[in-house]
């Protein structure tokens, strides 16, 4: 079952949170940012080409124009493939682990899977980002030597930066599944 709600990101951009429950111990939470706008794309392209045409008028060298086209194409490809993140999703499978996926505008997906044994907890933290104080959700990884210690902090939803109301929804969903593993270990100790 899937449900979708609209929220705002830290910058004020509208984002959508989609929650899907695949089974009792498996949930998928996806935050989708706004798509690439045709408006901004055409604005940037026309600005670059106007500048190139101005340079051409000054220097009478046609290489400037072909260079501008080349730069625009390469820049667009790099932007779509490496910079613009369309959707960030979190797949929590109780007893297996947590999977964090970022999908780029060109279709590329970059995935990280963290096993449940390494996950200490999922918490909401505050951070100072530029001139703002924002909330962000992060996964705390267990330190293998020290049971109370935290070896690493993995921040989530870094590109869409949802606000606190959205983060609370995600936090509640994650904690419901993480709590299941705390009630379960008693059966493991009976051997």
């Amino acid at each position: 079952m899937a449900e979708q709600r609209r929220f705002l990101s830290a910058r004020g951009v509208p984002i959508a949170l989609r929650r899907r429950q695949h089974s009792a111990s498996c949930r998928e939470l996806a935050v989708r940012g706004p798509r690439l706008q045709l408006r901004s794309l055409s604005a940037v392209t026309s600005a670059v080409w106007l500048a190139a045409y101005g340079l051409f008028a000054l220097s009478e060298n046609s290489m400037v124009l072909s260079a501008a086209i080349f730069i625009t194409l390469i820049g667009l490809i790099i932007y779509l493939h490496f910079v613009k993140i369309d959707q960030e999703s979190l797949l929590v499978i109780g007893s297996l682990g947590i999977q964090v996926t970022s999908s780029y505008a060109s279709g590329k997906e970059s995935t990280t899977f963290i096993e449940m044994a390494q996950v200490k907890d999922v918490v909401i933290n505050e951070a100072i980002h530029m001139q703002k104080v924002i909330y962000y959700l992060c996964i705390l990884l267990q330190d293998p030597e020290d049971p109370q210690g935290v070896s690493e902090v993995v921040p989530l939803f870094q590109s869409s930066k949802p606000r606190l109301d959205c983060l609370i929804e995600v936090y509640k969903s994650c904690q419901e599944i993480l709590e299941q593993r705390k009630t379960v270990p008693q059966s493991n100790e009976i051997k």
Partner: protein, 573 residues
Amino acid sequence: MVLKVFFPSCCSSADSGILIGRWISEQNSAVILAVVHFPFIPVQVKQYLGEVQRVTKVSVSVLGSWSNSKQEKEESLSEFLEDLGTIFCHEPWIQISKEGDSKFWSCSILQKHSKNPQEEEIILVYYDQRKVMLSHLHPSLDTAGQRAEDASKLSAIFDTVARSQVLFMTDRYDEGPIKLTHWQSDGVEASIIVELLKQASVPACMLLTFLLSLLSGICRSRVLKFWPLSFLWSKLSTCEQLGHRLQHLQVISSNKKAQNQNQLMRKANIFVSLLIDVALGILLMSWLYRKNRIGHLADTLIPVADHVAEELQDLLQWLMGAPAGLKMNRALDQVLGRFFLYHIHLWISYIHLLSPFIEMILWYVGLSACLGLTVALCILSDIIALLTFHIYCFYVYGARLYCLKIYGLSSLWRLFRGKKWNVLRQRVDSCSYDLDQLFIGTLLFTILLFLLPTTALYYLVFTLLRLLVVIVQGLIHLVVDLIDSLPLYSLILRLCRSYRLAAGVKFRVLEQQDGKPLRLLMQINPLSYGAVVQTYRLPTYSCYPRDSWASLCKKLFLGELIYPWKHKGDKQN
């Protein structure tokens, strides 16, 4: 408690039978390796599993039953399958059944000795058996000191499948009591070329080892250890590069099989790197010798050396005048300028003496480019060093003079203030000087101080020239280092067979149906290119900056001689 069943996707269309695999009780997961079909005799199955367990050291056992019925579920078959659970008693007994072509299978567990009768949730994870078997998980846990509890869950699964290779050797055409279905059940795959290469590699390795032992014997002979030659060998970077490549060849041609994945990858990387190096070198050689380009190169070498000498002479004339409007001390200026001019004159005559032989020397030296592009680049760097030897000499003279002056000035400045450097205590102490000591000291101090700008300017100019040459040489060595250390085989493997180098796994949720277990697809998440280069980098005798920026600046200021690139073998001073 959640039960995880790892099912190979190749067995999805197998006929009914029993499931064999490994049960990992700490993780409550079952890794299914193959399906044994009817008819079979239970005793023979147990015998076979015992043999497999002995060879692979993986605790393979019968985990459950698999029924693939094309039509409606047969009641008698399901009872028969439950009875099998009593023969092959395994706790828990997993029963998976598939009806027709439906994607959604039903899974149930039989637990006879269960303490909590609650319903366990089942997760069905499909995995590609061949890819998981061939893949290598990073970071690798090859170290012997790794505790079993630390091993991550996924590495246990990868390990199980990788070590059960002998199980996958029997295919359906084998005449035996057991009929299995796994990824290779349609026939064992092999490649003729690979087998031929394996057969040919043994005598080739032995021949190579013999040749290399001869070569290293010659290199280590006493003849080459005498002082002028050994000094020359240590200074020339070509010899170092050749020694490095010799070491590589020794690694490849050794008879010992690679113990683990890392050693195998290193051998393969060295082999591919050598191959590409030699190929590029031969390409360069063919380009150089075509249209007699090397003759042209030799012809332009002398004029270039002449041109450099002329530029230096112009520079010295400029310094002897009023450079940049600064007023120099005439006498010292003339002395230094004439001294350096004479040096240049000597150098030019020496070069002209060599000029008839240059072409021949270059022709034969160019032949050594067939040993590799790295060797050719090292030769280029050495030629640059030899051609700019006079700049190096000037730098040393200028630096020594300046250094002497600075030390003299600092010591006389202390005298001027009435202090002395105490060598025993390593500190500055006050001291009472005689009048004549003070008088002479102050005079000398004044003289040195007013001569400082001249010396400093000469030192500055020659240091800059020397730094320029050093930077050019450093760039060439950087390229050589890059070619030496780049793990090309690993990169090509990452490009073509990305599942072999795994950073982890990723799960994809497949279509679900209510009441049926959760279906996931486990795929291999390949290592990123940066991580591949970092993990499999070949070690080199790399040269990296010896000093930090601060100490370099301090050395320059004080006039100490700088050798910016430190080689790994150099002793720390």
